[in-house]
């Protein structure tokens, strides 16, 4: 039992890296996609729609296998498993994140936009100083769920040679045949990671409520 811990912990670090990387990619992708979706230009709106439907309509595992096995045949180079996993899991999460952001932004009452216009605020100021600060409390709880889903999805990276918890657990299982112990430990590690991530998101949620004077 104890001799498998170092390997599992090394896997935990990699899982943390994949998840963190994917969350960064997802945040950027979701922000870009939602900005394009809210644009009045069809040339911007449509690519974002296609991106969102494509990544939400297929399965993360298929996207990952596609990027790992099929894409290098088309591309002139082969991305490392880690990069491919972070990119795919990030783009997958970004598609779901874009819909969360869009729902929250559209829920800000029309009058807030009008008032900001009446005060002669630029459209950037309107977005960043008026609309977005009000959406944080709406965005953070579903985002916390999304990030936990992304942590769980990072387990799929182990199937394309990323040496995360899942990958190391498979190696340990094959060499020790202690199936229950290996996968039991893996489950517990993921559970603890999810609890930590959820706790962190709750702190963030509290902290984000201060600027707009909402009751905590």
């Amino acid at each position: 039992m104890l001799h498998m811990l170092p390997m599992m912990l090394r896997g935990t670090v990699v899982t943390g890296e994949v998840t963190a990387g994917a969350i960064v990619v997802a945040s950027v992708a979701a922000s870009c996609a939602v900005a394009m979706r809210l644009s009045t230009l069809a040339a911007l709106d449509w690519p974002a729609r296609v991106y969102i439907e494509l990544f939400r309509g297929t399965s993360a595992l298929i996207q990952l296998f596609w990027a790992f096995y099929a894409l290098p045949l088309v591309l002139p180079f082969r991305p490392s498993p880690m990069i491919a996993a972070i990119a795919v899991l990030g783009l997958n999460g970004g598609a779901y994140g874009a819909e969360i952001l869009r729902g929250a932004i559209l829920s800000v009452p029309r009058g807030q936009h009008d008032a900001a216009t009446a005060l002669n605020l630029s459209s950037a100021a309107k977005m960043f100083r008026v609309v977005l600060p009000q959406t944080w409390p709406l965005i953070l709880p579903p985002m916390a769920n999304l990030f936990i889903d992304m942590l769980k999805n990072s387990a799929l990276a182990g199937l394309v040679q990323v040496t995360d918890i899942t990958f190391n657990a498979q190696i340990l299982q094959e060499s020790t045949l202690r199936n229950a112990q290996v996968y039991g430990v893996a489950l517990v590690i993921y559970f603890i990671m999810a609890l930590v991530l959820a706790g962190f998101m709750r702190l963030l949620e509290r902290w984000m409520k201060f600027p707009i004077g909402a009751r905590v």
Binding site: L61, W66, A155, G158, Y183, A186
Partner: protein, 218 residues
């Protein structure tokens, strides 16, 4: 490497045969999730603290751990304790148990929307608790949660490729076997992706339609 149409048409029937298993796993898994989820939801509203916390703990653990590891765990550990079942059955069971943690939340939301007065009125009319639940509460709680259950169904459908990791011959597994044999991964994997895309787009359109119907009826 270029897309090869004759090859794509040649492998399409093989992959479509995998779709039968994909759909079988989704339907049976969802059935199990609907039954188990309702049981969890009922245990959560019973006035028993011990039952509440153990159910809560179980569903929370299921929701906070990856489906993939749950699949591996059951696939390797069940035979050790003397349960040998086909991989597909293990897969369906794990999918069902996994999603029951989500459906129980949906049921709970539906049940919470039923005003307390309905329970009181049923008691005043001398209904037993079981009668009240089955004949008064459930018929009111179920219709509004149909769209949310539909979303769970689509999510489960998109999770079935994970069953390929425990040797179930669904679409992704067949595509990968074709790829391993012919070294052409582009066509099989793209076909599987497109098939998933078509079905989930159709299904979400259907859910949107039902949602509007339910809203209109109110």
């Amino acid at each position: 490497m270029k897309w090869n149409w004759p090859f794509a048409w040649h492998i399409l029937p093989v992959i479509l045969r995998g779709m039968v298993i994909t759909i079988e796993a989704t339907v049976l898994g969802m059935l199990l999730a609907l039954i188990l989820g309702l049981i969890w939801a009922m245990l959560l509203i019973l006035p028993n603290r011990w039952l509440f916390w153990s159910t809560r703990g179980l569903t929370e653990f299921i929701r906070d751990t990856p489906l993939l590891i749950q699949l591996f765990f059951c696939y390797y550990v069940l035979p050790e304790i003397g349960i040998t079942v086909p991989a597909l059955l293990t897969g369906i069971t794990v999918l069902g148990i996994n999603y029951s943690a989500y459906t129980s939340e949906v049921y709970r939301a539906g049940l919470q929307n039923i005003p307390r007065g309905q329970w009181d009125a049923a008691r005043a009319l001398n209904f037993t608790a079981a009668q009240t639940f089955i004949r008064i509460i459930l018929p009111q709680a179920l219709p509004p949660i149909v769209p949310a259950m539909g979303n769970n169904l689509i999510a489960m459908f998109k999770d079935t490729p994970l069953l390929s990791t425990i040797t179930v011959m669904e679409m992704l597994n067949r595509a990968m076997i074709i790829g391993d044999k012919t070294f052409r991964y582009l066509e099989p994997l793209t076909i599987v992706g497109i098939l998933f895309l078509i079905i989930s787009l159709l299904a979400s359109a259907l859910i949107g339609f039902t949602q509007r119907r339910i809203l209109v009826r109110r």
